[in-house]
């Protein structure tokens, strides 16, 4: 694994550091951030980093100056430039300083991890090529490859192919997206652009049962919000997340077209209508135990209004 590999991300924008951290930590790297060249040098004097990803334009000390310092003082450390709109001259200068690569902003996590892998390989680090996670069984991947082969015959079938892939794997993490891209012979960026555009696709693993809460107008008018809040409370997750035991995933959908029986949620492919918060919980209990609110004891002498 990548345990012994430390990466330093240098940028004057905290958000940019956070983005890079998120992508690289997901790959198992030890990542630290530095807000500017000076802080980076301080950190490098105390620690050994395999790779530095740095922005170019930063106040106090810019990326090129930092790269110069690294070349001289820490020759074993690789440098990758991350920059918005670098000029040809800057790139030439950076390459002359021996940087491994440069990534234009904005970048997708897939691009960043790709570049990182390549850079580490060049630097001779013993980082093992990404291997499919254990959860993808060989039979699953075989089925996926077979399906992709079928879709390759038809032009413009990347969406159906992704739908099928999600059916097989359950979700579409970067490695699966890349596998599909390779199989269909289109760029991973294009596949990613589709996955990130359509609400149907998810890059997070889903639970055994998918709950889709309808946020349509009719459901809104009939009080879906209270139900959604109840579900979040009972399942202890937010929209878009999966419970710890991987039993349920909670998502919202714009309209299920079952407005007559609003408010509605769909569990897997079964719409469940005329919900109240209490009823929603009891519906889930049919799929897997989530606990139940104790009902208030019925009081006597209440006249229900009849229509």
């Amino acid at each position: 694994m990548a345990d012994d590999i430390k990466i330093l991300v240098v940028d004057d924008e905290p958000a940019a550091i956070k983005n890079a951290e998120r992508a690289l930590k997901a790959m198992g790297f030890d990542v630290e951030g530095a807000l500017g060249g000076k802080e980076a040098i301080t950190k490098m004097e105390q620690n050994n980093y395999s790779l530095v990803l740095t922005d170019l334009k930063m106040p106090e000390m810019d990326g090129l100056t930092l790269t110069g310092w690294i070349r001289k003082s820490r020759p074993d450390t690789g440098v990758v430039i991350i920059a918005d709109y670098p000029s040809q001259d800057t790139i030439k200068e950076a390459l002359a300083l021996g940087v491994i690569d440069y990534v234009p902003k904005p970048f997708t996590p897939a691009v960043l991890t790709d570049v990182t892998h390549r850079a580490l390989k060049i630097k001779g680090k013993v980082y093992v090529e990404e291997k499919p996670r254990e959860e993808f069984t060989p039979s699953m991947l075989n089925e996926l490859d077979r399906a992709i082969k079928e879709y390759k015959k038809k032009p413009g079938s990347s969406i159906p192919a992704l739908q099928r892939a999600q059916e097989i794997v359950g979700y579409l993490p970067p490695e699966i997206q890349k596998r599909i891209a390779r199989g269909l012979n289109i760029s991973p960026a294009e596949i990613h652009s589709i996955v990130s555009f359509y609400a149907f696709f998810t890059m997070k693993p889903r639970g055994d049962h998918l709950i889709r809460c309808c946020l349509g107008t009719a459901c809104f008018v009939r009080g879906i919000e209270a139900i959604l809040n109840k579900l979040k409370e009972v399942l202890k997750i937010d929209v878009g997340d999966t419970t710890e035991d991987r039993k349920f995933s909670l998502e919202t959908v714009r309209c299920l077209g079952c407005c007559a029986i609003a408010p509605v949620m769909m569990v897997d492919e079964e719409p469940q209508g005329a919900l109240t918060p209490k009823k929603a919980v009891s519906v889930l209990n049919k799929y897997a135990p989530v606990g139940m609110e104790e009902a208030h004891p019925e009081e006597v002498g209440i006249i229900e209004e009849k229509e």
Binding site: P160, E190, A218, C258, C259, I261
Partner: protein
């Protein structure tokens, strides 16, 4: 099944007509369980199982059992229809397995219909007798998975006529003369669209069906695809011939699994029967049809975005011209029609333009399917003649608001539409008249709102939708709707300030003028119409910090009017923060410090004893509250 010829169609029709007439089929009664999504959700499958078991158990060999689509009155599902020779047809509603068993014994064996469970006769129900069924004529009666039943109801006769007896020009002329306008919302004349595409010279053309019903609150396309898939296919075959296309796609939302399944079955049946594929009806005309499942993006209902999506790309719209009739899917001439539009086509070809025009108004001919949803009593699916006044739909067909609440507005056209207030209920339902109100006809969703709905929140709800669904390509839509949403959120959360309404109006005009596609151009409509008709609510939110409907948590104080409270404990039990104290049969009281303003008590009270006061009232003393509850009215009311 072998390939069908026109002669076969006639034979099947004759043969199955017999089954429908019951007598010749050897049956004395037919029981239909309505199995649309709405019915299945509330237990139609259990009812069906109980029915089949009970019929078998009692050896009722002269009773035939079948399924059909939604019976229209979705709020009363599961619904079961029993037809008997020589007797009135009876519909049973709110069914369950136990009731079904009882009905089989009482109605079918003993011959005594169970009045308690039955709907009043259709002729006496305004919900049914004010409707004019054309598109929905098959839905209530036909098994959607049976090609024979469809053929018996004149199915594919129109396609046969169009393919073997009519030229392209003749088909287009009939559709143009009928005055049919696109039922997707904008109302572009269908015949004209076909004419444009037919005149373009190209080897390859595409006939497309838009089943990406994205408007929240609309479900008529789902119902048609689920219950009458063959009518849509029939319409597509005719359209394909008219424009000269040999390949078609039906684009369906992935959120409609049952519709996808039924369409798949129908397409398979058609290929087996030679109604799709090569040389249909030996006319020499080829047409291939495929289903394309969407992946959850509202903007894909826009035609250029939908075509991009079928190409397997991000569903982003592009500027027009070139129009799809010249350069559409894969840059080939393409026609995209809505599900309901296509389902009308076979009827027009079969019965002629004059018949079609015989109802409706001069510029909006024929019928329109609407979905009634929200705070209305009779939620469901209806088909009415164009030109019917809105008031008739609300109070006669819809039966007024639930729980005798007061009507506040009807939202038409989804996120692109607007809210129509009580004062405009006299408007006839036509494309031209609805537009005058600031709303649009839309695809047919009508969501009703009563006095308990806050109109600012409704506008905020729709803007939340459009900001989420904006594809991000053009700035006015992407950034503009975001700013609208921010201002509306501020107003709803008590940060509204003088001048906000004017800023909203200004910004709306800019977004309409500068957006690239229909999504952005119409996104401000919900804001503009709510400001136009419910300005007092906006002002009460901004100036008085008061949400009169008690929806915006930060802008209301709940207070129990002791004179009206019966001490039933309902609100006390409903309160999640234990802020209500009191004993049985004695007036309750809300402890303001503990109240989280969730409105649970307000909704649970059957005696209207809970009042909504301005946010400032939280600090007031009991005596002041009492006084406020009696006299206070918001600014502008």
């Amino acid at each position: 099944m072998q390939r069908l010829t026109i002669e076969d169609l006639k034979n099947i029709k004759e043969k199955h007509k017999a089954t429908f007439a019951l007598r010749e089929g050897g049956y004395r009664a037919k029981v239909t369980v309505h199995m649309g999504t709405c019915g299945i959700t509330v237990g139609a499958k259990d009812v069906m199982d109980a029915l089949i078991n009970e019929v078998k158990k009692n050896g009722l060999k002269d009773v035939t059992v079948g399924s059909a689509g939604c019976a229209g009155l979705c709020g009363r599902e599961p619904i079961v229809t029993i037809e008997e020779i020589g007797k009135e047809t009876i519909k049973y509603c709110d069914m369950n397995a136990e009731k079904m068993r009882k009905i089989v014994v009482a109605h079918l064996i003993e011959g005594k219909p169970v009045e308690d469970y039955a709907l009043p006769h259709q002729k006496d129900l305004p919900f049914y007798n004010l409707q004019e069924l054309r598109v929905l004529q098959n839905i209530w009666f036909m098994d959607p998975e049976s090609l024979e039943e469809y053929i018996a109801r004149d199915g594919y006769q129109a396609a046969a006529k169009a393919l073997t007896q009519m030229t392209q020009e003749e088909i287009i002329k009939v559709v143009k003369d009928s005055g049919l306008r696109g039922r997707g919302g904008a109302g572009f004349p269908t015949g004209l669209k076909w004419e444009f595409a037919s005149k373009v010279q190209s080897e390859v053309k595409f006939m497309l069906c838009n089943g990406d019903e994205g408007d929240p609150g609309a479900f008529m396309d789902r119902s048609v695809m689920e219950a009458d898939p063959h009518s849509v296919i029939g319409g597509m075959i005719i359209g394909a011939k008219a424009i000269g296309a040999h390949q078609g796609y039906i684009y369906v939302r992935a959120e409609y699994p049952l519709a996808v399944k039924r369409l798949q079955i129908a397409i398979k049946q058609c290929y087996e029967a030679g109604l799709l594929g090569k040389n249909i009806f030996d006319s020499g005309f080829d047409f291939d049809l495929e289903i394309y499942q969407g992946a959850g993006a509202f903007v894909c209902g826009e035609e250029t975005a939908l075509m991009r999506s079928i190409e397997g790309k991000r569903g982003m719209p592009r500027p027009r011209p070139p129009f799809p009739a010249h350069k559409g899917l894969r840059d080939k001439p393409s026609v995209l029609n809505n599900v309901e539009t296509l389902a009308q086509i076979p009827l027009i070809i079969l019965n002629g333009a004059e018949w079609y025009k015989s109802i409706g108004t001069e510029k909006s001919t024929g019928t329109k399917v609407f979905c009634l949803a929200g705070a209305i009593k009779n939620v469901g699916l209806i088909e009415v003649p164009m030109g019917i006044p809105l008031r008739t739909i609300v109070y006669d067909i819809g039966g007024g608001m639930r729980g005798k609440k007061k009507f506040k507005a009807v939202q038409m056209g989804g996120p692109s539409g607007g809210c129509i207030p009580e004062s405009l209920l006299g408007l006839p339902v036509t494309y031209e008249d609805i537009v005058k109100s600031g709303a649009i006809m839309g695809s047919g969703g009508m969501v009703f709102m009563d006095e308990d709905n806050c109109m600012v929140s409704v506008a905020k709800f729709f803007l939340g939708f459009t900001t989420d669904e904006s594809c991000g390509k053009c700035v006015p839509c992407r950034v503009g709707t975001r700013i609208l949403l921010d201002i509306l959120t501020d107003i709803c959360e008590g940060r509204g300030k003088e001048g906000d309404i004017e800023t909203l109006e200004d910004l709306c005009k800019d977004i309409i003028a500068a957006s690239l596609c229909g999504l952005g151009m119409t996104a401000p409509n919900p804001v503009l119409t709510t400001i136009r008709y419910f300005k007092d609510e906006y002002e009460a939110h901004i100036k008085d910090k008061w949400c009169v409907a008690g929806v915006c948590r930060d802008l209301c104080t709940f207070f129990i009017d002791e004179k009206l409270c019966k001490g039933c404990l309902a609100c006390l039990r409903a309160c999640p923060s234990k802020a209500i104290v009191g004993e049985k049969k004695k007036p309750h009281r809300i402890i303001q410090e503990l109240c989280v303003h969730c409105r649970s008590c307000y909704d649970s009270c059957k005696f209207k004893s809970i009042k909504v006061l301005p946010a400032a009232a939280r600090e007031a003393s009991e005596a002041e509250l009492l006084q406020l509850a009696g006299v206070a009215t918001p600014t502008g009311v």
